[in-house]
């Protein structure tokens, strides 16, 4: 039958169902490559660095960080917001694109969701260790206690954050795992070794692809997508309220929730692009994660980057228009004060750089997209740094003005979380199918 080619095929190379299983199970069924070992070793070294630097923080105290009375949030909260933001793209791809029935999500949702989970794990380290006494880390939970029940404060956005992030992590994990079950079953039934059969069998929960189970499965996927969509929007909204509900000039603005959500999607897509461009090359999945996918994602990057840019300019305008001298000073100080370099890095990386994606060449050239995605990541890290540090370092009282410089420990923790993130990702790419096989099998056109 003739079919008009309105769009490029979602999967290239005339794959059959068997090809999909063979291609995607290959990394799991074969010994890891040298490249894998190299990447894993480097990541693991950084993970050890994280353990070391966090251990040092706990042993010696928060004094090992550069934070002070005035700038009490430094790299730690910057990194926290950075990592949480990265996670958002995963949920956006798997949940929102499912609701919009965008089929191109199917070959990238698995790895993007994995990225979400690992990123949120990284993010969780920062507030936990910033508490200082990490062994009391369970105190934010509303547990009955020995103080005649002194409860947690539900008026505080920091507590909302605890609920938002832990809900986000557990719901994302459930959604991801649910999607994995049919694929784990595929690996189980192809497995040769007894150990593999046992472990994949254990986690496949007896999946057999019965039509009745598929019927329920699709309903559950839809409902989970339906609740994850407002969830993901709420998470970064609540993160932004950590700032917006305060009375610090530069933080106390109503634009924060939408602006943070757009920024989170922007940075998340930046990271998805960074990862997938590597994955498709290293695991030979270029026919599944096609140029078409990269093209679609860069368009999202361009849109959200521009949204964030509009937010930057709006903030500036409102500060000027409000007539509040503190607001006006805060923004002038951002652009031309001692941290001007951070501000202009943010502006050029987030607002200007993604505009190249108006050009088709830029959207379809992987090495170029890779560079741009790194730039986006850098820019979004600086955005959080700018918001946190420049707003804090000039207090209402000039006597409390201070500067902030990160210490080696803080740098090491941040690099360490990178190690955690990539270690998890390497393990994921070795032990689980990086592409949702069962979904991809339903969209390959050329089934004989």
């Amino acid at each position: 039958m003739f079919e008009a080619q309105i769009r490029q095929p979602l999967v290239e190379g005339n794959k059959s169902i068997a090809d999909v299983s063979n291609d995607i199970c290959r990394p799991i069924e074969n010994k890891p490559t040298k490249l894998w070992w190299l990447g894993f070793t480097i990541s693991f070294a950084f993970l050890l660095l994280m353990a070391l630097s966090l251990g040092w923080t706990v042993w010696e105290g928060i004094g090992t960080w550069g934070v002070n009375k005035t700038v009490m949030w430094g790299w730690d909260i910057t990194n926290f917001v950075f990592w949480v933001g990265i996670g958002h793209a995963g949920t956006l791809i798997s949940a929102i694109l499912l609701l919009f029935r965008q089929k191109w999500r199917m070959s990238i949702n698995r790895s993007a969701e994995a990225m979400t989970i690992f990123a949120v794990l990284c993010a969780a380290q920062f507030p936990l260790f910033h508490m200082g006494r990490v062994w009391l880390g369970y105190w934010p939970l509303p547990l009955p206690n020995a103080f005649g029940s002194l409860w947690v404060n539900f008026n505080s956005p920091l507590l909302w954050d605890v609920f938002a992030i832990s809900t986000y992590l557990s719901v994302s994990l459930l959604f991801w795992y649910l999607g994995l079950i049919p694929d784990i079953a595929t690996v189980r039934d192809r497995a040769v070794s007894k150990a593999k059969k046992f472990w994949y069998g254990f986690f496949a929960m007896g999946w057999n692809g019965s039509a009745r189970t598929w019927h329920r499965y699709e309903i559950v996927a839809l409902i989970l997508a339906g609740v994850s969509t407002p969830l993901v929007l709420s998470v970064h909204t609540i993160v932004s309220m950590d700032f917006a509900t305060s009375v610090i000039p530069g933080w106390h603005t109503t634009i924060f929730p939408p602006y943070f959500v757009a920024g989170a999607i922007f940075s998340g897509f930046g990271m998805v692009l960074t990862l997938l461009i590597i994955v498709r090359k290293v695991l030979n999945l270029e026919q599944y994660i096609t140029i078409g996918h990269l093209d679609a994602m860069t368009k999202v990057v361009m849109l959200t980057g521009s949204l964030v840019g509009v937010a930057y300019l709006t903030e500036f305008f409102i500060a000027a228009y409000s007539g509040v001298v503190y607001e006006q000073y805060a923004f002038l100080n951002r652009a031309f004060g001692p941290y001007w370099w951070a501000y202009w890095t943010m502006m050029s990386c987030n607002l200007l750089a993604p505009q190249v994606f108006w050009f088709k060449w830029a959207r379809t050239t992987p090495w170029f997209i890779f560079i741009l995605s790194i730039i986006v990541n850098i820019g979004m890290w600086f955005e959080r740094f700018v918001i946190i540090v420049t707003s804090l370092h000039r207090d209402y009282l000039t006597s409390s003005w201070a500067m902030y410089t990160a210490t080696l420990t803080e740098v090491a923790i941040f690099l360490g979380t990178m190690g955690l993130f990539f270690t998890c990702f390497f393990l994921f790419s070795k032990f689980l199918p990086v592409i949702n096989m069962s979904e991809v099998k339903s969209i390959i056109k050329s089934r004989e």
């Binding site: 068997a18 299983s21 509303p142 008026n155 609920f163 719901v171 649910l178 192809r190 189970t213």
Partner: protein, 302 residues
């Protein structure tokens, strides 16, 4: 393995399976189940599966989450339930009664979502009888990989004769038709049919073929194989899994009878294919159907 006597139609494409299901339903035949490696759309409707009421469960779970969120916060933050034994929560002069409701929105919202998601998750596992470590009830190891199965109970044969059923399945593109015994093993007489393209379906697999070969027959077939495809050391092996249709299990089987490279596969003749089939006892007709020979030739050129 699923402990059930069934007649199975084997497919390699969801559309073919779907059209068979439609035709069978038209004749009033109830489908026992279908097993597919990917969700085939509209299959549930065509099979007459009633829409699951999991959504109702999700709604109820969400409501429970919503109420527990509110209750939790009223209990801890206000004295409306007479819960302040010693420490009232006075924070910046903020209201300590119903007036604090705006502060309750985020946590109530998150708990609603948490309960909905996990509620429907657990309901799904419970209804589908899925639990960690459960042994899967399979009809064939490839049902989660690249084959789709249509299962009909033999009792349905009162509504349609066996030959009618076979023709119907074949006409709609079934690759083969199998019977399963109560103990889960495939029935001895495998009714095997090629798609309509080639010769008429012949019941070819005699019970002798299926039975274990004697040692003599084995060595005879192996030497025939070697004389045609040649011998290769195991060290020079190619990744036979690159041939579409060969999985890790089958690759091992091929290796065990001395086939290691694409070149060897490309040299196969009808005789040797028969020999391989009887030696490995695995999906008769598969090699020709998936055209391994030209696949192997292509792979050699790469």
């Amino acid at each position: 393995m699923l402990d059930k006597q069934l007649i199975l139609g084997v497919y390699d494409d969801g559309d073919k399976l779907l059209s068979s299901v439609k035709k069978l339903k038209k004749k009033g035949v109830e489908i026992f189940d279908c097993y597919t490696p990917y969700p085939v759309h509209h299959l549930d409707n065509e099979m007459g599966i009633k829409r699951s009421n999991l959504t109702v469960g999700a709604f109820i779970c969400g409501m429970v989450g919503f109420c527990s969120g509110l209750l939790l916060q009223f209990y801890m933050m206000t004295n409306l339930l007479h819960t302040f034994k010693s420490w009232p929560m006075i924070i910046g002069g903020k209201p300590q009664d119903y007036g604090m409701w705006p502060s309750m929105v985020p946590v109530t919202f998150e708990l609603t979502i948490l309960f909905t998601a996990f509620g429907i998750g657990f309901l799904f596992f419970a209804k589908s009888e899925m639990i960690h470590g459960k042994i899967a009830q399979l009809v064939d190891p490839r049902q989660t990989d690249d084959r789709l199965f249509l299962a009909v109970e033999p009792t349905e044969l009162s509504k349609i004769s066996r030959s009618e059923l076979d023709t119907l399945l074949n006409d709609n593109g079934a690759i083969e038709i199998r019977e399963r015994n109560m103990d889960g093993s495939d029935a001895e007489a495998v009714v095997h049919a090629e798609p309509a393209v080639e010769e008429a379906p012949v019941v070819e697999a005699s019970s002798q073929d299926e039975a274990d070969l004697s040692e003599d027959q084995k060595t005879e077939k192996l030497s025939l194989l070697k004389s045609i495809v040649g011998e290769v050391a195991a060290d020079d092996k190619d990744d036979l899994k690159k041939i579409s249709g060969v999985g890790p299990v089958y690759e091992e089987k091929l290796n065990s009878i001395g086939i290691y490279t694409f070149e060897q596969v490309s040299k196969l003749t009808p005789e040797t294919i028969k020999a391989i089939e009887s030696l490995t006892k695995y999906f008769p007709g598969k090699i020709e159907r998936e055209d391994w020979i030209s696949q192997a030739k292509n792979l050699m050129d790469k």
